[in-house]
C-alpha cells in the first residue's frame, strides 16, 4: 500500500475485516464508508444481534426503566457490510492475511481492524460461578438476567468489587430498596481509578445510602444449596453473609486470547499499537495492515510520557475507531495520531462523576472548586508539578477548563483562586494501591545476540 495508485485501488475495491462488532467496530465501519471506502467490509462479532450500547447495562437497564433489548446503538450511516455474527474469531494468520473463525471458516483481508474489546472477569472458581444467582455484567443478556433477579426481590445482593461497575450496581440496588453488601479488597471504592481521597468520598456516599460496605476484605467462597442456588458468601476475615444474588465486578479481561501465535504484541495488557492505531508485532515493530481500536488497544499517549495506555472508556472507543478508520484508508503523510484526552463518566448514588485526563498518572490531588462534604466539587490531579487529570462530582461543566490545563501542561496545583474555591484547598498525596494489585507478570522472552537477530517471543502464562 505504498503508492497513491495502490491506495486508490484499495479504497475502491480492497477488503477490510473488522473483528469485534461493538461500539468501536461499528463506528470504525461507519467512518470507513464516510472516508469513501467502497471495497468489501466484513464485520465479525461473537455476539448475535446488532451492536448495542453498554453504559446503560449497569444503570437504566438494571432499574428496569430501559429494557435490555432497547440499547441498540444508533447508526450514523449505512455501512453496507457483511455481518458474520455469533461466532468468535479464533485466530489471525498474518502470513496469508486471514481471520479464522471458531467454526473453521476463514475470512481473507487486505487490512484488518481488531476491536474485540474486553469481557467481564469471571469468578475464579468455575463451579461457584455457575451457581444460580451469580452474575457478571458485560453483555445485554447478563444485564437482562440480573435485572430479572433484582426484580424478583432478593433478600440481599452481594457486589464483589467496588470499581465503577460494582458501585453503579450497588447504587441501583439501593434505588430499588434492595439490601446490598459491597466487598472490596482495596481500602475504599474507586480507589484504583481515582485514589484514596476520592475513594473516601465514594465510601461516604455508599454508606450514606445504606450500603453495607466492607473494604479490605476478600470473598473467599460462594456457597450454594443442593439445587445449585447461591445461598451464602464467605470472607477472608471469617465472616459470612446470606445472599441470593452475587455480582462479580472485578473488571475486564481483554479479548486477545485468539491472537496467540499471530505474532502481534498482544497479551493480557491488550494489543500494543502506535498513536495511528497500527498494531505492533511481538518485536515492537509497527505493522502496516493490522489496526486496533477500543478497549483492547493499548496506545502511547505523548501527554503521559508516551506511556502505553489502554482505556475502557466509551468516548475513547469512538474516537480511536475514527482515527483507525481514517488511517486504514490514508497514505502515510495523511495519517492522524489518536491524541484525545481520556474522558469518562459514571452515575451512582445520585451523583454524576466525570473525569478528564488520566488520574492514575498523578502524585498529588487538590480540591479546586466546590465542597467535598456536599459531594459537589472538582479535584485536580498533578504529576511532578503539572496538571494531568481532573475529576468532578456533580460539577462536570468545568471539566473543559481542566482539559485545557492538561493540554497546556499547566502548573499543579492550579494557582489562581476561583469564587467557590474551598477554604482549606491543599494538595494531598494521591495514594493509589501499590503495583502488586495491578501487576500482570512477565510476558515475553528476548532471544538472539546480534542486532539483526534480536527477537522477542511470547511467554504465555498458565493459570
Amino acid at each position: 500500500m505504498t503508492s497513491a495508485d495502490n491506495l486508490q485501488a484499495f479504497k475502491r475495491e480492497g477488503r477490510i475485516v473488522v473483528v469485534g462488532a461493538s461500539l468501536a467496530g461499528l463506528r470504525a465501519a461507519e467512518a470507513l464508508r464516510e472516508e469513501g471506502f467502497t471495497g468489501s467490509l466484513t464485520m465479525i462479532g461473537d455476539e448475535l444481534g446488532e451492536p448495542y450500547d453498554r453504559p446503560p447495562l449497569s444503570k437504566q437497564v438494571l432499574t428496569g426503566w430501559v429494557p435490555a433489548e432497547n440499547t441498540k446503538l444508533p447508526r450514523r450511516r449505512e455501512v453496507d457490510a457483511e455481518w458474520l455474527l455469533g461466532v468468535p474469531a479464533s485466530g489471525l494468520d498474518l502470513a496469508t492475511n486471514h481471520v479464522r473463525l471458531a467454526d473453521g471458516r476463514e475470512v481473507p483481508f487486505d487490512r484488518v481492524l481488531i476491536s474485540t474489546g474486553v469481557r467481564g472477569r469471571p469468578w475464579f472458581v468455575e463451579s461457584e460461578a455457575a451457581l444460580d444467582g451469580v452474575f457478571v455484567v458485560r453483555t445485554r443478556e447478563h444485564a437482562a438476567g440480573l435485572q430479572r433477579a433484582l426484580a424478583a426481590g432478593p433478600s440481599r445482593v452481594l457486589v464483589i468489587g467496588a470499581g465503577f461497575t460494582g458501585s453503579e450496581i450497588a447504587s441501583i440496588c439501593r434505588e430499588r430498596d434492595i439490601p446490598v453488601t459491597v466487598a472490596e479488597l482495596a481500602p475504599a471504592p474507586l480507589v484504583g481509578a481515582l485514589g484514596a481521597m476520592i475513594g473516601e468520598v465514594a465510601a461516604d456516599m455508599q454508606r450514606a445510602h445504606g450500603v453495607d460496605l466492607r473494604c479490605g476484605v476478600k470473598v473467599t467462597r460462594l456457597e450454594g444449596d443442593a439445587q445449585g442456588r447461591l445461598r451464602r458468601a464467605h470472607f477472608d476475615d471469617g465472616s459470612t453473609i446470606d445472599t441470593d444474588v452475587a455480582v462479580v465486578a472485578l473488571g475486564g479481561v481483554r479479548n486477545t486470547d485468539w491472537l496467540q501465535g499471530s505474532g502481534l504484541a498482544a497479551g493480557v495488557w491488550g494489543i500494543a499499537c502506535d498513536t495511528g492505531c497500527r498494531a505492533l508485532d511481538l518485536n515492537g515493530l509497527v505493522t502496516d495492515d493490522v489496526f486496533a481500536a477500543g478497549d483492547v488497544a493499548r496506545c502511547p499517549n505523548p501527554i503521559y510520557e508516551y506511556r502505553l495506555i489502554s482505556l475502557e472508556h466509551w468516548a475513547n472507543a469512538v474516537e480511536q475507531a475514527e482515527v483507525a478508520a481514517h488511517n486504514m484508508v490514508s497514505g502515510q503523510a495523511d495519517r492522524w495520531p489518536h491524541l484525545s484526552i481520556p474522558r469518562f463518566w459514571s452515575i451512582q448514588f445520585g451523583v454524576n462523576i466525570k473525569s478528564v485526563g488520566v488520574p492514575t498518572f498523578a502524585d498529588e490531588v487538590v480540591v479546586t472548586q466546590g465542597s467535598v462534604p456536599d459531594h459537589r466539587f472538582v479535584a485536580a490531579y498533578g504529576y511532578r508539578g503539572r496538571v494531568t487529570a481532573a475529576v468532578s462530582f456533580n460539577n462536570a461543566k468545568w471539566l473543559d477548563h481542566y482539559q485545557a490545563l492538561i493540554e497546556t501542561a499547566a502548573p499543579s496545583p492550579p494557582p489562581c483562586p476561583a469564587p467557590d474555591q474551598p477554604a482549606d484547598a491543599k494538595p494531598v498525596p494521591v495514594d493509589f494501591p501499590g503495583p502488586t494489585l495491578l501487576a500482570q507478570g512477565a510476558t515475553v522472552v528476548v532471544t538472539g545476540h546480534d542486532p539483526s537477530e534480536r527477537r522477542v517471543t511470547a511467554a504465555y502464562q498458565h493459570r
Partner: protein
C-alpha cells in the same frame, strides 16, 4: 482633551448604524482575539477564546468582582442566578431546574407541546387573509410571552403593564453614561423595582397553597433537598425568566423568519421537510442568534487567554455572535447552511450559565417556523433590512413587515 479619535471597532459595533449587519465588524474584531479597550476592559471575539473563558472558573458573573461596576450591570442585594457565581448560582439554578427540566421534571417542555402548537395555530389563524403582517407584533412577540406567562403563572391580562417595564429594563442594560441621557438608566431602575414589586405580590398569593401547577407556586412551596428559596430569591428568579422569556425568543423567531425569507429555497424545503427545522434552528442560533454579546463578566483573578493576561477585576465582554462566525471553528461561517454538521454554536452561551430556557426556546422556534412556513401564503419581505431594536446585545428587528397573498 478635544482631539477627535477614530472610533474603535467595538464602538462602531455598539453604534446603532451597524445594527443591521454587525458581522463585517466582528470579522475586524477577531483580528485581535482578546482586545484591551481604552477604559481597561477586554473584548473577546474568537470561538476558542470565548469557550475557554466560559469554562474558566476564574471568570465571575458577580458585579461585585468588578473594579468599576458598570452602570448597566444590576447591583442588587438579591441578584438572580445569572449574576451570581457558584455556589450561590448553583443552588438557585438547581432549585429552579427542579421544576423545569430533568431529572426531576423531565416532561415539562414535551408536556407543553399541545399548548405551544395551539398558541401558534391561533396566532396564525388571525393572520389568515391579512396581506400585511408585522411578524414581531402579530406573532413573534405574543407567542413566547403567552408561554412564559402560563409557565410562571403571571396573569396574561397584566401583560401590557409589564411589557412597558420590561422594555425600560432592557433599554437600560446597555446604558452608556457617555452618550445616553441619565433618564434612560433611571427609568430602567424604576421599572425594575415596579416589576419586582408586582412579582412579589404574585408570590405572596401562592404561599401556603401547595399543589399549584405554575412555577411560582412550585418555587413558593418547594421542599426539596436545598430547602426553600426566600421570597426575594423567587422574585429575582421570576424576574430573570420573565425578561429572558420576553426578549430572546422573539428575536430568534423573527431572525429566523427574516433569514428564511432571504433564503427562499430553504423556506421551500422546510414546507416539505418538517424535520429540517431541527438542524435549521441550530444553524439560526449560530448564524443569527438572539443574544449577540455577554456585556460583562469579571476576572476574579488574573486570567490568561490567548497569551494575554487579563488582570483581576477587569471587565470582560464576550462577543458570542462573533465567535459563532469564527472561520477557525466553522467552515464558511457566513453561509446559512441548515444542513451544517458539528454545529456547536454559542447561541445559548456555554458552561454553567448555559441558557436556562434553551430547550423551551428551541421547541418554540421549531414549532413557530414550521407552522409559519407551512401556512403563510407566499410571504415576501417588505423592507430589507428591517428596522432594528436599539440593543446590540439582544439584537433583532423591532418590526418585520411581511406581505403575503396576492399583494397589491
Amino acid at each position: 482633551m478635544t482631539t477627535t479619535e477614530t472610533p474603535s471597532t467595538l464602538q462602531r459595533i455598539l453604534d446603532y448604524s451597524s445594527r443591521a449587519d454587525p458581522y463585517p465588524l466582528y470579522a475586524e474584531l477577531r483580528r485581535t482575539p482578546v482586545a484591551r479597550q481604552e477604559d481597561g476592559s477586554y473584548v473577546v471575539s474568537t470561538y476558542r477564546e470565548i469557550t475557554d473563558l466560559l469554562h474558566n472558573p476564574h471568570l465571575s458573573s458577580d458585579t461585585r468582582n468588578l473594579s468599576h461596576p458598570t452602570a448597566g450591570a444590576e447591583e442588587q442585594a438579591t441578584p438572580a442566578f445569572i449574576n451570581l457565581d457558584p455556589p450561590a448560582h448553583d443552588r438557585l439554578r438547581r432549585m429552579t431546574m427542579r421544576h423545569f427540566g430533568p431529572p426531576h421534571t423531565p416532561g415539562l417542555v414535551t408536556g407543553m407541546e399541545d399548548d405551544l402548537t395551539g398558541i401558534v395555530g391561533s396566532l396564525i389563524d388571525d393572520l389568515a387573509g391579512k396581506e400585511q403582517i408585522d411578524l414581531v407584533d402579530d406573532f413573534a412577540y405574543p407567542f413566547p410571552v403567552t408561554v412564559i406567562c402560563r409557565l410562571l403563572g403571571v396573569p396574561h391580562e397584566d401583560e401590557p403593564r409589564f411589557h412597558l417595564w420590561v422594555d425600560d429594563v432592557v433599554n437600560a442594560i446597555d446604558y452608556n453614561p457617555k452618550t445616553d441621557p441619565k433618564e434612560k438608566l433611571e427609568k430602567g431602575i424604576q421599572a425594575r423595582n415596579e416589576l419586582r414589586r408586582y412579582l412579589g405580590g404574585l408570590v405572596d398569593q401562592r404561599h401556603g397553597r401547595p399543589g399549584g401547577e405554575d412555577l411560582l407556586a412550585r418555587l413558593a412551596n418547594d421542599d426539596g433537598p436545598d430547602g426553600r428559596m426566600t421570597d426575594e430569591e423567587i422574585v429575582a428568579t421570576a424576574n430573570l425568566l420573565l425578561i429572558a422569556g420576553h426578549e430572546t425568543t422573539v428575536n430568534l423567531i423573527t431572525n429566523g423568519m427574516l433569514t428564511l425569507l432571504r433564503h427562499p429555497q430553504v423556506l421551500q424545503r422546510l414546507r416539505h421537510e418538517p424535520d429540517l427545522v431541527v438542524p435549521l434552528t441550530e444553524e439560526l442560533l449560530r448564524y443569527e442568534p438572539p443574544v449577540h454579546i455577554i456585556p460583562w463578566r469579571a476576572a476574579y483573578s488574573d486570567i490568561t487567554v490567548a497569551d494575554t493576561v487579563i488582570p483581576k477585576s477587569s471587565r470582560i465582554m464576550l462577543m458570542l455572535a462573533s465567535g459563532s462566525r469564527d472561520p477557525n471553528r466553522f467552515h464558511e461561517p457566513d453561509r446559512f447552511d441548515p444542513d451544517r454538521r458539528d454545529n456547536q454554536h454559542l447561541g445559548f452561551g456555554s458552561g454553567i450559565h448555559l441558557c436556562f430556557g434553551g430547550p423551551l426556546a428551541r421547541r418554540e422556534t421549531q414549532i413557530a417556523l414550521t407552522e409559519l412556513a407551512r401556512r403563510l401564503d407566499r410571504p415576501r419581505l417588505v423592507a430589507d433590512p428591517p428596522p432594528y431594536r436599539r440593543s446590540p446585545v439582544l439584537r433583532g428587528p423591532v418590526h418585520l413587515h411581511i406581505e403575503q397573498g396576492d399583494g397589491y
